[in-house]
Symmetry: C2
Subunit: 376 residues, 2 copies
Amino acid sequence: MMRAAAADARVIGLAGGLPAEAQFPKRALARAFLRAVRRAGAPALQYGWAEGSARLRGFVAGRLRARGAVVQPDDVIITSGAQQAIALALELAARPRDLVGVGAETYPAALELIRARGLSPVARWDGPPVRYAMPAVHNPRGDALPAAERAELLGTGGAIVEDDAYAELRFDGAPARPLLADAPERVLHVGTLSKTLSPGLRIGWLVVPARLRERAVELKQGSDLQASSLGQAIAETYLLGDGQDLPGVDWDARLARLRRFYRRRATLLGRALRSALPEWRFTAPEGGFAIWAHAPEAPRAVDELAFLRAAVAAGVSFDPGSTFRPDRAPHPLAVRLCFSAASVTSFPEAARRLAHAWRRIGEPGVVTDDVASVRA
Amino acid sequence: MMRAAAADARVIGLAGGLPAEAQFPKRALARAFLRAVRRAGAPALQYGWAEGSARLRGFVAGRLRARGAVVQPDDVIITSGAQQAIALALELAARPRDLVGVGAETYPAALELIRARGLSPVARWDGPPVRYAMPAVHNPRGDALPAAERAELLGTGGAIVEDDAYAELRFDGAPARPLLADAPERVLHVGTLSKTLSPGLRIGWLVVPARLRERAVELKQGSDLQASSLGQAIAETYLLGDGQDLPGVDWDARLARLRRFYRRRATLLGRALRSALPEWRFTAPEGGFAIWAHAPEAPRAVDELAFLRAAVAAGVSFDPGSTFRPDRAPHPLAVRLCFSAASVTSFPEAARRLAHAWRRIGEPGVVTDDVASVRA
């Protein structure tokens, strides 16, 4: 159903966490591509080493040092997106059947990976030998980890997988001090260019404690040999220039523009929601791509799948709350609404359609029909 | 040592299995890139589905059907190179601590992956519940699986991971009937564009029996969400055109050119070896990128590492035989010599340097010194 909805131009897509197409710097990436392909030896098209481009690792290390972490280029491994970095981190840090602390809600693809590996996600930080957290900008909530929770996370022993994917998209422009800076000996730090540049390049990274590095590179090599040479060469040339006459981008200026762009979208979607669904509750996000919204407590439990189906029928999609929860609980009913990729002018209509589906789902007969047909 | 050698322009590189830079169709790939990036919605830069581009899957299915297999586009999963396809296939087919039959020699990165997963590679086909084979063109031997061995492989039950990486680079231009055509219910078929187009794109594929498909896509998604959108868009546009005025490449004509190119290199390296090292034994390869050569039986066992070190000191690199063997045995001493990427005009000199190192290693004092310094 989600796929059909994504392919249907009549459905306003508030699902998926996609960056805005308008923010892909197509011309600059094309220029970077042409420079990279012309380089002697054509490293952009050839095999490379498992740990990835030295220049790109240097860039990542530099950005993290500016946020207080002690990181050298050799501590960084370029991965095929953040997802692979999370997968490698879990393989390094977790033993079979371990519990993994993830908090009350978290990134669905991490949850699925944890389960697929035979590990068990749980909502608490204290107790599990491994934790997966998004301290800078949480997905789906869009907030920073509160200081007390951060202290709790750092206070307990064991490994922490720190997913920093949205850190540079905090709307206030102050990416938090990474956990890596405070516990480098047990934090496995994950980052990506997918949200700030392009997910199509598949460029992420993993920073691991020195004792795990050799094993991490081995695992990376076994997984897929190396991240895309082409993606790395384009990213490197775009970010840092070609070492000759093509300069690198002003990355901080780009990030500032992106923050303004997405903050405005967050404001507009929030406004549309408050107008069309005044009884729903949400907190304005501090960064990222989405609003995490709770439905009011209904007189009886509303079926999440039926609501999703009604929404898609009304012409709007969202990510259902149960996919973000370690126990897959569909209640209390919540949804992730992404403001990142849909047209801004569609937000009021998207909110109205959501409200329409919400009212419709209140009609008992309709709910039953929908559920029956979906589950048939 | 191998890394230092690869970075040293004075060392003639016969290691690594890299395609020739001269064969990257840079201009056509650049054209494909520019078309792909300009497409509405910029799918080349955006997230895509885990199983990969439908057009690319259609292309792969069509090529396999032409070789006798019954394959539909939905049976194909686009992977981040062949290595990831092998990794997924093992995850699907092998249980913890399984033996994996691999033959007497095989692809080192597959061996490392098998070991890293806690599985045990063994040289025999009969017995292990899972087998990993390269029936069309073997790496490192460059030959096809003999009919009797093929029958043995198909005759025993259990899963077979079929690595088809070099199949289209059989010099006679007749890619073998894949095992997939004969045992579709238990063959997990692996292919790639790395040898015929560019490894930098990281485009491979995995074809799995229908009952494993859903699980395979889940595992793929958990590993890294999806193969590079950019690599897929470039490959798809290059191979199949942009659906408008840019036509796809004549892939069969390109493959025919590549076969002539690499066959000539195989001939020239073979000639140089016979001239400089007449006592070494090798069979002319039927395809692929390398010659698998055996040293003559020396009066005493020659230390493989010392020989490699002497070769690099003399200015030539190779892949040591032990890395291709399931038991890592360094004897009988053998080497993989890649004719794919080094300059053709360097082959006579490369062979002379190898001969020099071989004679030098025969001097007992030198060997001992070398080994001592390497292991210090």
